[in-house]
């Protein structure tokens, strides 16, 4: 049985609240204020990109803006800047749309390239752990906080953004929204419309860091040490 002790537990709560148990009929109230929708309200896509770029300084993240045509070159330059030799990338259908499938083939002539492959199972994690750079697309990008939202699936493992020493996020311009409010609303609406929530949604804001030793900021304690965002017009 997958659910244990529920009835007794919940009846106790209801009793303490002085009423019978509620199993249905609870509606979220109209909250008296909704300030989350006011942030960057009415900002144009270009203004949002400016906000994103500026916040990248705060979160120790490199920011590049480029065109679709130039994207393969810019990605390559970033890889070289990290002096990376081994790369792991998501098996995303946008690879084709953005010309990255061909680019990855080309990189493979000099670099150790791995495209996430569900058929080899856990081996993907081992490759990701040893890789110098992981590359994937942002699904929703939050301008206010400089955050990429990664809805992981069988072609886009969580390990790609997490295990390699450096991470590159390719950000299609149209994925940029003001803040987390819009991302949460989208996932909420999907759920209401019967689209299952992904098993992992990860909001990544720059490299991993910690201030646990005498409050000194140290980058790359568990996850990547370097992060670059590439916004594609």
């Amino acid at each position: 049985m997958p659910i244990h002790n529920r009835d007794k537990f919940l009846s106790n709560l209801a009793a303490n609240l002085g009423r019978p148990r509620k199993i249905e009929g609870v509606e979220r109230p109209e909250y008296s204020v909704q300030p989350q929708y006011e942030v960057l309200q009415g900002a144009s896509q270009d203004e949002l990109i400016d906000v994103l770029e500026k916040h990248c300084e705060v979160i120790h993240t490199d920011f590049v803006r480029t065109s679709k045509q130039e994207l393969p070159n810019v990605v390559r330059q970033t890889i070289d800047r990290y002096e990376a030799k081994s790369i792991i990338v998501s098996n995303d259908k946008r690879n084709v749309e953005y010309g990255m499938d061909q680019a990855y083939n080309q990189y493979a002539e000099e670099l150790d390239m791995h495209i996430w492959d569900a058929s080899i199972g856990k081996e993907n994690q081992v490759i990701a752990e040893k890789a110098d750079v992981g590359i994937s697309f942002s699904d929703i990008t939050l301008a206010e906080s400089g955050t990429v939202t990664l809805k992981n699936d069988k072609n886009n493992g969580r390990s790609i953004s997490l295990m390699p020493k450096s991470y590159i996020a390719i950000i299609p311009k149209e994925t940029i929204v003001p803040r987390m409010t819009q991302a949460a609303k989208q996932i909420h609406d999907d759920h209401v419309n019967g689209i299952e929530t992904p098993s992992s949604v990860c909001f990544v804001t720059g490299p991993s860091n910690s201030a646990d030793i005498e409050m000194n900021l140290i980058v790359g304690v568990h996850g990547p040490v370097n992060v670059t965002y590439i916004v594609v017009d």
Binding site: P2, I3, H4, N5, R6, K8, F9, L10, S11, L13, A14, N16, K22, I23, R28, Y31, S32, V33, P35, Q36, V39, H55, A118, K122, Q125, E129, S145, T147, N152, D153, K154, G157, R158, L162, R179, M180, T181, A183, A184, K185, I187, H188, H191, T197, P198, S199, S200, C202, F203, T205, P207, N209, S210, D212, I213, E214, M215, N216, I218, H222
Partner: protein, 478 residues
Amino acid sequence: MSVKIGDVSYKDRIDKGIENDFMRQAVSSAQGRFRKGRLSQAEELGNWEDWRQLGSEIRTHTLENIDYYLYQLSEQVEKRGGNVFFAQTAEEANEYIENVVKKKQAKKVVKTKSMVTEEIGLNEALEKSGAEVVESDLGEWILQLDEDPPSHIVTPALHKNRQQIRETFADKRGYDKTDSPEELAAFAREQLRHDFLTADVGITGCNFAIAESGAITLVTNEGNAEMVTSLPDTQITVMGMERLVPTWEDMEVLVSLLTRAAVGQKLTSYITAYTGTRLEEEIDGPNDYHLVIVDNGRSKILGTEFQSALHCIRCAACINVCPVYRHVGGHAYNSIYPGPIGAVLTPLLDGYDDHKELPYASSLCAACTEACPVKIPLHEQLIRHREIIVEEEKKSPVSEKIMMKGFAQWASNPAAYKLSTKVARTALKPWTKDEFVENGPGPLKGWTDVRDFPAPGKQSFRAWWNERAKGEKQNANS
């Protein structure tokens, strides 16, 4: 460990805190930084009070309907392939988790930082049953190596300096490099990577569980929660039953309040929302998932005047503004929940017997109430605790009893009262410096050891009042 950390007396804990110069300096500089971060984020938003109002309304609605939302959450987790265990007590929770670990024949468990697992003493329970438990948050890992309890909710090892950390690494793990934070952290990264990859079970706490979809949200800067939830095949989430929100949209608001109020960040580096087991053909994430929902005394708070204490989102904003915490540090509270919220919550969860001093560890300046992003009236709840301790439980601290008894005798004898107020200034002169009494005599000593006590005025209030009344009379007559 349980809510209570040890058996050292309140006074000894305070003395220890006050004598620890490094800790006091670290706490005061951390308080300054966190407080500044929170205020600048609030200023940037410009409508912080609206945000607090919204946070407060979401928490109130959720707690009022907690049975409904926990039911919905459990249904969703089951739908996504997970198991849900409702644990009334710490023992029930530990037993269930131990059984999962035993069934998997797990040798190694990796964990994220989690207050509720500290509260129920999970690590000790698992270690007793033979599994190695590794804390993966850098601060928690340091404390685990050193067998020391946390002293702050957000930065648990705040009380330790880098030399102490270096020594711990050297003694326990053969570390031979310098005490630079970068080198220390690089060493921890290397050690922990190995643990992540070889662990059989991952255990996390829960910042917010989303009832509508069954997602569990974890908020970290290090990314260790991502590691713990991505790599081991078996996952267990332990949540205090109140760590719940109705929908993704509510989660988003509370996460925004949490990261701003805690450390002044718009969002932390990682916010992870994972739901049930991994889907078909997925590689990262668990294939066996368990959610353990813990009561452990929380339900007693429901329906009482303290219900809003359960609104707490563990941001530590109240701790970061508290003048008492600033002086005595986290360990003085003898609870895994320090600071003002700890002083409110600990007696509610663990009774007054061991924690009757805590509601007095407050200046009642209300800075905590003002800082709380979900508007818990902390200082009012502290006053209410004091009333209960004095009136109902008859457990006011001994020092206060003696002082109050003496005060009552003295104040009810007009002649003694009149005489002593008249001579007080002169009598206390040997202990007075710059208009403050230092190291005062008798019952005053307990006070002046930890607080300022202004020297009695040159003129007593009564004398001043009489003169004023005389003056008014003269004015009226003229």
